[in-house]
Amino acid sequence: MKIHIKNGRLIDPQNGIDTKQDLFIAAGKVAGIGQAPADFAANQVIDATGLVVCPGLIDLSARLREPGYEYKATLESEMLAAAAGGVTSLACPPDTDPVLDEPGLVEMLKHRARQLNLAHVYPLGALTRQLQGANLTEMCELTEAGCVGFSQADKPITDTLVLWRAMQYAATFGFTVWLHPQDIYLAANGVAHDGEIAARLGLRPIPTTAETIALATILRLARETGVRLHICRLSSAESIDMVAAAKAEGLSVTCDIAANHLHLTEYDIGFFDANCHLQPPLRSQRDKDALRQGLANGTIDAVCSDHTPVDEDAKLLPFGEAEAGATGLELLLPLTLKWAGEQALSLSTAIACMTARPAAILGLKSGHLGLQAAADVCIFDPEQYWKIEPRALKSQGKNTPFTGMELAGKVRYTILDGDLVYKT
């Protein structure tokens, strides 16, 4: 399959390209930039006039819900959502049922994903068996099976000795440990930021200290062990300062935030809108400003969708009983573009947060469109506004705080390894 993408605005942040240039794809790879390679006869020509052509997006957290939660979502539905969102690579956390703590499960997931051929799936293995925070998993075996890092998803290790040993063991082999910092005691039963809204609505609080205290522990142990650390889904201004200090000290640490947190605060909960029941919770305006700033100045390495499809019944409950999470794969691009537009940042900066920067965290060769790079491409219309309508989303998860909003940035084509996997 040879594809000629013509007249598009090619944006490839890693290679410093932002110009009107044609892209030529052959044998699943980028075969030519600007001019066609010798003897290039396209099977397909995509007219990208007025569109942006960029590397396929890389999402650091998308729950596919398989195995175990097929009533919430399936690989088929969520991989389609990825393609529709321009996402060609995604990392998925291990909190499935059974938990991704056995090489066989990881191989099966990778195999299923390959058959569907809609996006590259990079599983994160469980750091401890059953995510119970007691016994280490077979990290070497899991890596061979295809895991790209080790995570506890939203189940923190409470025993600091186990946490220390887990980091030491991962550091032995150079594996990356992905941790979401949350102190389970301070956050116990909490459903909302410990701010004015929780005080008024009588919602059980999750104080900022639940995040910062856990983060302080994690950073200190990362310094001791020298482990390669990725911190997931930060939510508070103070945490961003702590990560900046850790980076300045020279620790091997990266971090991400969820796209929802770029735009929402505790006030969006309004009168108990369960769509705004997210983990970590939406925090104050000051926190939101710090996240937006941190992503712009690079303290925060990447933005992810934190895609968490939840079934209708699990959301049709009072706020505190409703399951946390929102669908996100199809919203990552428009939400990130909205942030960049509001901050007066370039399209290239926005795209880097979803391509080159997450690729570096995952250690992938993709995330750019240099010659001979894998032809994972996202082609989108940056000016086209579209209304977020749950029924129209490909994801089986229909819940998002952005329902009814009009957002700019519509994916038109998604190409995976040189194959056109989505088109609208």
Binding site: D194, G195, E196, A198, A199, R200, L201, G202, L203, R204, P205, P207, G270, F271, F272, A274, D313, L316, L317, P318, F319, G320, E321
Partner: protein
């Protein structure tokens, strides 16, 4: 933001929380309640305002007192009343809240009185019921208990009609209290210029000052010169543990005794939403003393609930 408890033309559709209620509607409820106070003293304690209507008390959390007062209020308005104790029936069989509500709707109920352990449960149900049904929140988690707050301000207004000239102190467990949250909104909406909360830091939510109250941690300072002392109930399970060391120490530091009450204005009144823990949050000599209005509160509670139900039924 759309206010879910008002109709498009600003009338009361549901009573879910005091927050968001305009002063005019609160006054309408209180004024209507005045006219119902006399009903209980008549030989025939009934008016026909809700004749042919069915009121459903759906209690997902146990409460004898609140349910009973709603039941009496509805019966005095000539409504048919169904009491459903869901905590002991369908929920344990796996039925969801909406299933329960849908089933009662199918039985042609007109009004739901809801008590639930989760904050926001009444809002949630109000969002999903058929348009002709009115929802009254009888307490949701830590969020709101609007009829309790209304009966409290009704009582205060009867004894201290000049609301714009009052100093009111709420004492006790504000953190877990839906009553406190509703009382604060009711008092500030009615123009009470100074509302204080008095509690140890473990029993106050973060940012409680953003609700428009002055925060005290000391009874002597907090009670000084107040016109109304509103006591809050302390749940048994919170008397010992990480929130408080013991009931005895709580009584010593934050329990209302005659000595402490003497710091308030001489004609200050004392309220309590009940049921009381005598000797823990309040001394018997105060609870039964001349400044206590705790029993009148119970009487007025029925009139206020009659007022709410009759206004809702009139706004179809």
């Amino acid at each position: 933001m759309h206010n879910p408890q008002l109709t498009d033309d600003g009338k009361l559709k549901h009573l879910l929380s005091i927050e968001g209620l305009p002063k005019s509607i609160i006054n309408q409820i209180l004024d209507t309640a005045e006219s119902f106070v006399g009903v209980a003293e008549r030989e025939v304690k009934k008016v026909p305002l809700l004749r042919g209507k069915t009121v459903c008390n759906i209690f997902f959390e146990n409460s004898t007192r609140t349910r009973t007062t709603f039941e009496i209020a509805a019966k005095r308005l000539s409504a048919d009343v169904i009491n459903l104790n869901v905590s002991t029936s369908s929920q344990s069989k796996g039925e969801t809240i909406l299933d329960t509500v849908d089933n009662l709707t199918a039985m042609h109920a007109d009004m739901f009185v809801i008590r639930h352990a989760q904050s926001g449960a009444a809002h949630f149900i109000a969002r999903h019921v058929k348009p002709h049904i009115h929802v009254i929140n009888a307490g949701d988690g830590r969020h709101a208990h609007p009829t309790q707050a209304l009966l409290d301000v009704f009582t205060i207004r009867r004894y201290k009609p000049e609301m714009h000239n009052l100093r009111v102190a709420l004492v006790g467990d504000v953190l877990h209290s839906r009553v406190a949250r509703s009382e604060i909104h009711a008092l500030t909406t009615l123009g009470v210029p100074e509302v204080r909360v008095i509690a140890p830091k473990t029993l106050l939510p973060e940012h409680v000052e953003k609700l428009g109250v002055h925060v005290y941690h000391d009874m002597a300072a907090g009670l000084k010169g107040v016109d109304v002392v509103m006591m809050l109930r302390l749940q048994n399970e919170r008397m010992t543990g990480a929130l408080l060391p013991s009931a005895q120490e709580y009584f010593k530091t934050f329990g209302l005794t005659q000595e402490k009450l003497a710091l308030a204005k001489p004609d200050a009144i004392v309220t309590h939403p009940g049921p009381m823990n005598r000797g823990i949050e309040i001394d018997s000599s105060v609870a039964d003393g001349r400044q206590s209005v705790i029993l009148p509160q119970v009487t007025y509670g029925i009139a206020v609930r009659m007022a709410v139900m009759s206004i809702l039924a009139g706004n179809n």
